[in-house]
Symmetry: C2
Subunit: 520 residues, 2 copies
């Protein structure tokens, strides 16, 4: 049917905005209105004539309203094919279904954590009526969104509701009910401490996303963008971190959020008091010392050039002394567990810096969802995160010379940093300080050359970490030539022995971990 003329409407809404004006107009046109509980009260209170559902069906509401609209007279009226059978059955047709759902999401956001209370908020009748009307959009029109009331009135006035409108509003219904049930499933799975489903790679799954920020633009000014939260409600929503964790400065941009993510990812693997500097998602400075002040000084020293306009992540509290150092450099974002009042006073003088405090999200941040998703042509790659912290990897010394304890801890730090560098990646480390990075290269020896060039003279006596094995001995030879004394790498090449032999020849020690850390 091209247009439908509404003779009978069913109205049952949780959100009452605009409903009185809308129903008043429908009633004025002589449209019969069926209604339930709270909506019925609201409409009659405002002088609108309507028929209560229980009177219409002859079936009183039962179980505190759990069953009121699940009745053949209602669903026959909605799903009727308007054919001879309908005439014979003399079921009165319902042409407009105005329903919105129990606000499951709002209740969750209020912090209710009792699964049985949450379950009560799951709407059964509402989705059924909407889905039925959407299925029968040929003859019936569902309205789930109060913003569509004026359009419906306008079309009714102009002769009837258009087919294209009915289809569009039907799609809106399935978008909402799909989201609603996906959300229920995610939230209840979290609350019931059931297993994370992604771990078992389910056959199908839908991911409910809620927009929490519209961004000025994406990676570049010609790309629109938004940030969508992933429901993980038990405590503070993690998606609020980028908004509520911000103590100072303009809203985070797309690239800011991406870099913040990258910074948090690296901090996850680093010990307390460590500091990392990020630029274009690549670490350009990092150090582990006994205070964030010292760690920052060392991280900065490792790359005094790239830090300009960078992001600094500190795994600890920014105090006055650290704030004074940080304030001397142009930085985009400072991310820390927290800031002292004195530190805030110093740093908030800088208008263009963003300060992010993760204290309230700490446990969630460092133990977030175990899977990651990568959009590719045609779908999503879903995988476990690379959850192995190199600190816990078993090291096997494969050379005649053994690393000393100082080298051992530098080798572990190197492996931690190279895990977070794009592949092929090589890093140079000395005294728990990042000195050079070769990232995203198409061959390994070039990555090593870039890292060693970056480190320059400081490479002398330093250690080198590689995210994957050496296909031949050229990287070892280059490293030794530049003064590298110890190497860490997963091993696993057919030619591991060539690299080991080169180490032995050149008095370099090498350890193997067995764990590759590709990251693209």
């Amino acid at each position: 049917m091209k247009m439908i003329q509404v003779k009978r409407a069913l109205i049952s809404v949780f959100h009452k905005e605009g409903i009185v004006e809308f129903a008043t107009q429908l009633a004025e046109w002589g449209i019969e209105i069926l209604s339930t509980g709270g909506t019925y009260e609201e409409l009659t209170k405002n002088g609108i004539n309507c028929v209560p559902i229980d009177e219409y069906t002859g079936q009183p509401e039962i179980f505190g309203g759990r069953v009121k609209t699940l009745h053949p007279l209602i669903h026959g009226g909605i799903l009727s094919k308007r054919d001879d059978e309908a005439k014979q059955l003399s079921i009165k047709e319902i042409d407009l279904v105005v329903v919105n759902l129990y606000p499951f999401e709002e209740i969750v956001n209020k912090g209710i954590k009792e699964i049985d209370q949450l379950i009560e908020m799951i709407d059964i009748g509402g989705p059924t009526m909407l889905r039925a009307a959407a299925k029968n959009y040929q003859f019936c029109c569902p309205v789930i969104d109060p913003q569509d009331y004026s359009l419906i009135l306008q079309e009714c006035e102009q002769g009837g509701i258009q087919k294209q409108t009915r289809l569009r509003l039907a799609l809106k219904v399935f978008a909402e009910t799909g989201f609603y049930d996906s959300l229920i499933q995610s939230v209840l799975t979290n609350f019931s401490h059931a297993t994370d489903e992604w771990e078992t790679l389910p056959k199908k799954k839908s991911i409910p996303l809620v927009k929490s920020q519209e961004l000025r633009y994406g990676e570049n000014p010609h790309q629109n963008a938004g940030f969508y939260g992933f429901p993980d409600f038990p405590d503070k929503m993690l998606s609020r971190f980028y908004l509520d964790g911000k103590l100072h400065g303009k809203e985070l941009s797309y690239n800011n959020i991406m870099d913040t993510h990258g910074t948090i990812k690296i901090l996850t693997d680093l010990p307390d008091q460590a500091v990392v500097v990020i630029k274009h998602s690549v670490p350009c400075g990092a150090a582990i010392r006994s205070s964030v002040y010292e760690s920052f000084q060392a991280a900065h020293q490792g790359d005094p050039v790239s830090i300009f306009g960078g992001i600094v992540g500190l795994k600890g509290i920014v105090d006055k002394q650290t704030a004074e150092e940080l304030s001397k450099i142009f930085l985009e974002i400072i991310i820390a567990e927290s800031f002292t009042e004195e530190a805030l006073e110093i740093l908030t003088k800088k208008k263009n810096i963003r300060l992010l405090q993760y204290h309230d999200w700490k446990n969630q941040l460092f133990s977030e969802a175990k899977q990651e998703f990568k959009k590719v042509v045609g779908g999503f790659l879903v995988q476990d995160k690379d959850h192995i912290n190199p600190v816990s990897e078993k090291l096997e010394v494969v050379t005649q010379i053994k690393p000393d304890s100082k080298q051992l801890s530098d080798l572990r730090f190197a492996q931690t940093m190279v895990k977070h560098v794009k592949s092929n990646g090589i890093v140079i480390v000395k005294d728990q300080m990042l000195l050079g990075v070769g990232t995203g290269q198409t061959n390994r020896v070039t990555a090593a050359k870039i890292a060693l060039d970056w480190a320059g003279d400081t490479a002398t006596g330093a250690v080198l970490g590689s995210d994957a094995f050496f296909p031949m001995d050229d990287t070892v030879r280059l490293a030794a030539e530049r003064g590298i004394r110890a190497i860490i790498q997963p091993g696993g090449s057919k030619r591991d022995n060539d690299s080991i032999a080169a180490c032995n020849e050149l008095n370099v020690t090498m350890v193997m971990t067995g764990i590759r850390h590709f990251y693209h």
Copy 2:
């Protein structure tokens, strides 16, 4: 309730597998079985005593089965709180709801494209019964998956269905109904040629994903992984490209799919007959010639080292001559529009190579969904793809020397390639051939140095492309020193004039595009 004992079960299934055995056991225990249409026939045919729904409710099925279970006796029975009210109403309680849904997905996969036929396949009664039983999991148990029949029998035998089982099966229901409606919405949106919703950054949305491949592992062997298709059904499903497009070789790995995606992304912006070589998602060779044979030869020449173990993407047909050249090198994957029979004969002799043919997906591949998603801590960044093809960018010459026509086309090619290099990115191009790449660097001049080192002597007389502006004139000076004669960059730095002055001083021509191409 810790355990529930089943006295009455409702069974209405589309997929009949295992249902007879299951119902037989229930009937033997004296459980009353209510059933509908096809399921009723199947069960009675097998000698199982059951009550037809219409007899039970006193309401005959109407509108071809559209309304049969939407009745207060059914939903009162499912949603009953088993309290005094229930006793007074004398509604008979239904303790087990065994339902699976009309197979919307299967119908779509069969290629039905008529929206009204698809709409008929949307189940209304089924989801309602399942959702009601899931909501009332305290007293009732939903069973949507035939694989759970044996568990239910086992628990019934041991005294009753456990609460934890009921909750788990309830969560399974919401997972399925959430997926079902999200899928309906996606599919019908595609078919009805409605606007792509992501373009308007909707307030909420759920993404239905279907596993199409379980992968051996993810980026690294210690990460589990799978590939999930994004529903885009109108023609061939794009997610099938990685499976059905493969003509030869082992199944694609996680990293293979990722690199294939990267290759397709670059081919999208390149003209027919162009060739690109990818390694670790980074282009290490590329060229535009009048045949894929010549393009491949030139792309190979640009980086004869990194191509080892790489992925070659050809925008055209691989013929015998090209296949012979390709077969000389160890390659992971060859991606082409198609392969001639002679080419296939040559290449399929290599056991370890994968051959991917995109011919059947061509239109979809090069005009896929306009948005991309990046998972970060707490949610997803959603943005428009960087859809601007540098070929169509407006070039503004800002130097005294103007580029000649050969330089102009090299500059455009450089801008196309640098768009697909990780930021900060710099590329070197000459004669429509990629000669050097600096990728993912934390400062621009280092990216330039890496690209120029890569190009070596071939940089003399070449052009340089940059994905973002030059913060100072150091890149121009370095480039000129190495023989670069023309530069393309977006411009927009406060110090653009310094770079322009350096170009004029050093007889280099420079054009600005106004379009930044960050990519991380």
